[in-house]
């Protein structure tokens, strides 16, 4: 792609505007969850600087909550790192899906993009990519504006969190509500609804039977595969319509 500086600047300006106007609801949720994380992390003995570093270096909400809890119980190096790894392994699937839309990027651009892949940015960007009119610049702006919000909110929670009463304003539900709407964005066809239903039910069964967080990955893997079989069957049915 050949374009001069001016065009690139213009494109970035447009991308920043569109990216932020898509990302601000996620930022809103991150402020709530980030404050909550800061409060909890502070209680387990992490200092605001360490909280900020964790948000910057790890940048994965649920694993940060779990790690903070483990820091509180004086857990060792290896259990914390291994738990973090297993909780965040699901990003493997998300980055695989995103790769469909980021095929023209350079290695360093991809490496920068990979840093910001979260449940929320992934789900939002995927639904936007699907609607067309969405580029890697917009997606990158979503990743990094939400990232910045997360870092600032967690540090703010660590510094001033004692002033927020526990459970205030339904903060604990911000993540679930965000997930519910992001799921709605993904339900484009009846197959997606079936896969989501199957995955949810399967995840509940699995999480009751196996400890840890591997149930997320297993349920998603199996139900996406089931969805694939389902789609193949529908195709075949359409092809042989009338013969049966």
């Amino acid at each position: 792609m050949v374009s001069d500086d001016f065009d690139v600047k213009k494109e970035w300006r447009k991308a920043i505007k569109e990216g932020i106007s898509a990302a601000w609801p996620i930022c809103l949720g991150y402020i709530a969850i980030g404050l909550a994380f800061g409060v909890i992390a502070r209680k387990t003995g992490l200092r605001p600087l360490e909280i900020g570093l964790m948000s910057l270096i790890v940048y994965a909400g649920s694993s940060q909550f779990i790690a903070a809890a483990m820091f509180g119980t004086e857990a060792d190096f290896l259990p914390i790192v291994l738990t973090t790894f297993s909780v965040n392994l699901r990003h493997l699937l998300m980055s695989s899906s995103l790769s469909l839309y980021l095929r023209n990027l350079s290695g360093s651009q991809l490496s920068l993009f990979a840093y910001g892949v979260t449940d929320e940015s992934f789900a939002l960007n995927m639904s936007r990519f699907h609607g067309g009119k969405w580029g890697w610049r917009q997606a990158l702006v979503v990743n990094h504006s939400t990232n910045l919000t997360w870092i600032l909110s967690t540090v703010a929670g660590g510094i001033g969190g004692q002033f927020i009463p526990a459970g205030a304003f339904g903060i604990d539900y911000a993540l679930t509500a965000m997930f519910i709407c992001l799921l709605v964005f993904q339900l484009r066809r009846v197959h997606h609804v079936l896969v989501a239903f199957f995955s949810g039910v399967l995840a509940v069964f699995l999480c009751l039977m196996i400890p840890g967080n591997s149930y997320i990955l297993i349920a998603a893997f199996l139900s996406a595969s089931t969805g694939l079989l389902l789609r193949k069957r529908t195709w075949r049915k359409n092809e042989t319509e009338g013969n049966r």
């Binding site: 896969v195 399967l202 400890p211």
Partner: protein, 106 residues
């Protein structure tokens, strides 16, 4: 202990970054077969649902089913609102408010 926390955080960062980076770096450089593309298309819905449902119907350690959680009851109207409006911000605000009320009256 201070140094140890930092080194734990750095290692957490590394093991988190690798699964994010690996598929992006390699899959974007290969042609993907149509069935893999179809499979990946189901991943967002599958993951989100696997994240939501267990968190609203199970509780405790070891986990067990709990149908009376406000998490579950707030989820229905939140879902309806999301389906009707497709508004992420609105859903977050409505969800938090409903949950707050549900906990309050629980």
């Amino acid at each position: 202990m201070k140094g140890e926390i930092i080194s734990i955080i750095i290692c957490m960062g590394i093991v988190t970054y690798i699964p994010r980076w690996l598929p992006l770096f390699f899959l974007t450089r290969h042609r993907l077969s149509p069935w893999l593309i179809d499979w990946l298309d189901f991943i967002p819905a599958a993951i989100l649902s696997a994240l939501i449902l267990p968190s609203i119907v199970t509780t405790g350690e070891p986990r067990h089913l709990e149908w009376a959680k406000p998490d579950l009851w707030a989820a229905f109207p939140t879902l309806v609102f999301a389906l009707k409006t497709k508004s992420l911000a609105g859903t977050v605000v409505i969800g938090m408010t409903l949950y707050w009320l549900a906990v309050y009256f629980h």
